[in-house]
């Protein structure tokens, strides 16, 4: 498939508060035309193949206490038992016990666990994709310490192999594989955007420098929807006087291959960035305001690469925190009351919970934390690729209400986050509920409050 073909099959929805493909006239939630038996067999085979001691330990340990339900925004907002996180794994638990567990030979011989059927997997699609943002909140409540989010990611691998990915998520993932970017930010579009922004904002934006200390990546959501982020990034990096560049052979930080469960595409996307960084001899790869990009590169990148990465990987908020703490980025005080929405993959799952708070502290804002914040935050409801899925909208709005309530309770006037996917989820929710709160980018706030060099010198004197 090429760009023209994919435009015809999966036209992008460019209007509206969030980016995805147009609502399909006919949904194709099954890919390919495999016979059912083969579909189920592929899912199980993939799942079995993935299996390691770690996942086995977790799957063996569940005591069916049901506490994970209480941590899940889908269960809390709907009260429907099927949204209990560990239930989302049921067919895979079954497959594990039958195929890979220590008693698997017994289970098979006595047929104690049935083979998983394609129909079962199909009915689980909603649970594994539409109603799980991989936010990992359930992983913190489990008394047995099971990392449920990791297991659901693995389950998605099986689903992708079976061709059972929701229509839209498959569509954007496929486009990412064809065009290098899931939402239309092809290298050509990206280069043109950078050139146009450089002119428009009178800022130097380096693209395709042969060598640079820092390779900067962007989320296609930013490129297509929040291009100011590109400008903000450039201004900050220029301000610091670092050697940095964008590369058209490796700029897209999102990884819809990972979200859809297609391990090959995940690898493809990650390798583009890694190879670009290696090509320009970068010492550091900065990931943009995008949650899952952090998980994909910071924690899974080296494992996709098969060896330690020859450069450091950092989220932009970590970069900003470090530079601001070192005093390299003086900012004008910002006397606003702010609440911060933690992107799950960066805070809870990524370990960079404190970085944005350091930045906000340097900005001098009046920070009002939500009741559930930091590691325990409620997800915006758009993570894990869920925001792309049209049929999941109603459910997503339901869980978004939880987030709105938490924000309202803080009484803060300004809403900030460091993930463009959260941002577009908020934008979409704002539009849906005609809410008066708009999500802002942490990165852009810093760029907007930078003290210009001359003024900074005066301050220093």
């Amino acid at each position: 498939m090429n760009t023209v073909e994919i435009d015809a099959v999966h036209p992008l929805m460019t209007e509206g508060p969030r980016l995805t493909v147009e609502p399909p006239a006919t949904r194709y939630d099954k890919q390919g035309d495999l016979p059912d038996g083969e579909r189920a067999a592929r899912a199980v085979r993939q799942f079995v193949r993935d299996f390691g001691a770690t996942a086995a330990t977790w799957l063996e340990s569940c005591i069916h206490c049901g506490q994970c339900a209480e941590a899940c925004h889908y269960y809390v907002q709907t009260g429907e038992a099927k949204y209990t996180p560990v239930w989302k794994l049921e067919p895979f638990k079954q497959a594990y016990k039958r195929e890979a567990g220590p008693f698997a030979p017994l289970y098979r011989a006595l047929n104690l666990k049935r083979d998983v059927s394609a129909a079962e997997l199909e009915s689980w699609q909603e649970l594994i994709y539409d109603s799980c943002t991989l936010c990992g909140r359930c992983s913190l409540i489990c008394p047995m310490g099971i990392d449920l989010a990791s297991l659901i990611s693995q389950a998605r691998h099986g689903m992708a192999k079976a061709g059972l990915v929701p229509h839209e998520l498959w569509a954007v993932a496929e486009r990412a594989s064809v065009e290098g970017s899931p939402l239309g930010a092809t290298p050509k579009v990206f280069r043109e955007r950078c050139e146009w922004l450089a002119d428009e904002h009178n800022v130097a934006i380096h693209v395709d420098l042969p060598e640079a200390d820092i390779l900067v990546s962007m989320s296609s959501i930013e490129i297509m929807k929040y291009p100011d982020s590109i400008v903000a990034t450039a201004r900050i990096l220029n301000y610091l006087g670092t050697s940095w560049t964008f590369r058209t052979d490796g700029y897209e930080a999102t990884n819809f291959g990972m979200l859809s469960g297609n391990a090959d595409w995940q690898r493809e996307s990650s390798l583009r960035l890694i190879n670009a960084a290696v090509a320009c001899k970068a010492k550091r790869l900065i990931l943009p305001e995008c949650g899952h990009a952090y998980g994909a590169l910071r924690w899974q990148g080296a494992n996709v690469y098969g060896q330690p990465l020859p450069f450091e990987v950092e989220h932009i908020s970590e970069f900003l925190a470090r530079e601001m703490q070192a005093g390299h980025l003086p900012v004008k005080p910002m006397p606003a009351s702010v609440t911060f929405h933690d992107p799950c993959q960066i805070s809870r799952r990524g370990g960079a919970t404190q970085a944005p708070r350091v930045v906000l502290d340097k900005l001098g804002v009046d920070l009002h934390e939500m009741e559930m914040h930091g590691n325990l935050n409620w997800c915006c409801g758009g993570g894990g690729g869920v925001v792309t899925i049209h049929r999941a909208d109603a459910l997503r709005y339901k869980v978004f209400q939880l987030k709105m309530r938490q924000v309202e309770d803080t009484g803060a006037s300004m809403l900030v986050s460091s993930c463009s996917n959260c941002r577009q989820t908020f934008d979409d929710g704002q539009a849906h509920f005609h809410w008066d709160k708009t999500m802002h980018s942490l990165l852009e706030l810093v760029a907007d409050h930078l003290i210009e060099p001359a003024a900074s010198k005066e301050n220093a004197a």
Binding site: V48, R49, E99, A104
Partner: protein
């Protein structure tokens, strides 16, 4: 015509008051209300002295010793004297063919009415050849004598349950009387030996009512074997409090605490030792500081050490468990290898 017990007692100069006194004791013994004593006296007084034939098989004579130990007239004597013991190898004056003849005569005269008492287990190995009297195997003798008996009383654990001769490996093929005699009422009075008054108590019941008393699942008279030693033990409060002697000479032992930990089988032993006691009511083993061996229970020899607490296991050693753990590791490793092979296979198939 044999005389009644009344006549016999009167001949011996026993007053009615003395008889009543013993009948009161008898009522107490048979766990009847003390007020029943006059009724017992009336019934017992009218009873004819029944003919009793006593056969001894694979036994140690301890049961007979137990019964005849007292040297003054006691309740046991009273009852024992009220029967006509027509054959008892140890006690009878006659010997040889004369003794055998006496038995034959009693069997003929009271066919279908005499009471057969047996002590000792019955050897069945080699067609019973392990134990014979006058060239006749115990097995044959038992079958023959039991055929004309009104009822059979198995005295002692050997005749009741096989006892020591039947203990593993049971070389003689010893069995209980009730394993051989299935067409007659058989009552077991187990114990090694049984409490003397329990033996006579059963006889008293037979004399008083003409029947054998009600029995439990092991054919033991409920009135003597209805409750456990433990239930009737004066040390029971210590058990309930969790106070145990840990050794035979520690503080707990001196304080008279519960002997459970020292292997006391009281909780699973049904007998009257704790209430009737031994040696003319002096004491019983637990009172002397030793746990109950459970001698009146089936197979008490083969239930592990007398000193192993009841709740302790009798068969597991750490070696077995180590081997089990090793086997588990081996099987688990096998399962993991198999799973890995399946993973590898799945990888190739893609």
């Amino acid at each position: 015509m044999r005389e009644t017990l009344d006549q016999s007692l009167r001949r011996q100069g026993v007053s009615r008051r003395a008889f009543l006194k013993y009948c009161t004791a008898l009522a107490s013994l048979m766990a009847l209300p003390p007020g029943m004593a006059p009724a017992i006296a009336a019934a017992l007084g009218k009873a004819m002295r029944p003919s009793v034939i006593w056969l001894s098989f694979q036994e140690c004579t301890g049961c007979t010793e137990s019964l005849t130990r007292s040297n003054a007239p006691t309740l046991e004597d009273l009852i024992f004297n009220s029967i006509s013991l027509d054959y008892h190898e140890t006690l009878q004056a006659a010997s040889g063919t004369a003794a055998e003849a006496a038995r034959e005569q009693a069997m003929k005269a009271f066919y279908g009415k005499y009471l057969l008492i047996v002590d000792g287990s019955v050897a069945t190995g080699l067609q019973g050849a392990y134990s014979t009297v006058a060239g006749v195997t115990n097995l044959d003798e038992l079958k023959k004598v039991a055929a004309g008996a009104a009822a059979v009383v198995a005295v002692g654990s050997c005749s009741s349950f096989g006892g020591l001769p039947m203990a593993h490996p049971n070389p003689t093929g010893a069995v209980a009387v009730s394993d051989i005699i299935t067409d007659k009422p058989v009552i077991n009075v187990p114990g090694c030996p049984p409490i003397p008054v329990v033996i006579t108590g059963v006889l008293a019941h037979f004399l008083t009512y003409g029947t054998l008393p009600e029995t439990d699942l092991h054919r033991r008279p409920k009135m003597f074997y209805g409750e456990t030693i433990h239930d009737r033990c004066y040390r029971r409060p210590f058990y309930d409090q969790g106070k145990f002697a840990h050794t035979f000479d520690d503080e707990g032992a001196r304080n008279g605490w519960c002997l459970y930990e020292l292997g006391c089988k009281g909780p699973i032993t049904y007998n009257s030792c704790a209430t009737l006691k031994w040696n003319e009511g002096t004491s019983f083993p637990i009172e002397s500081g030793h746990g109950c061996l459970g001698c009146s229970e089936p197979k008490f020899w083969d239930k592990g050490s007398f000193y192993q607490p009841l709740s302790g296991g009798t068969w597991t050693d750490s070696g077995t468990l180590l081997a089990a753990a090793a086997a588990g590791v081996a099987v688990g490793a096998g399962a993991a290898v198999l799973s890995r092979a399946r993973q590898h296979h799945a990888q190739e198939e893609k």
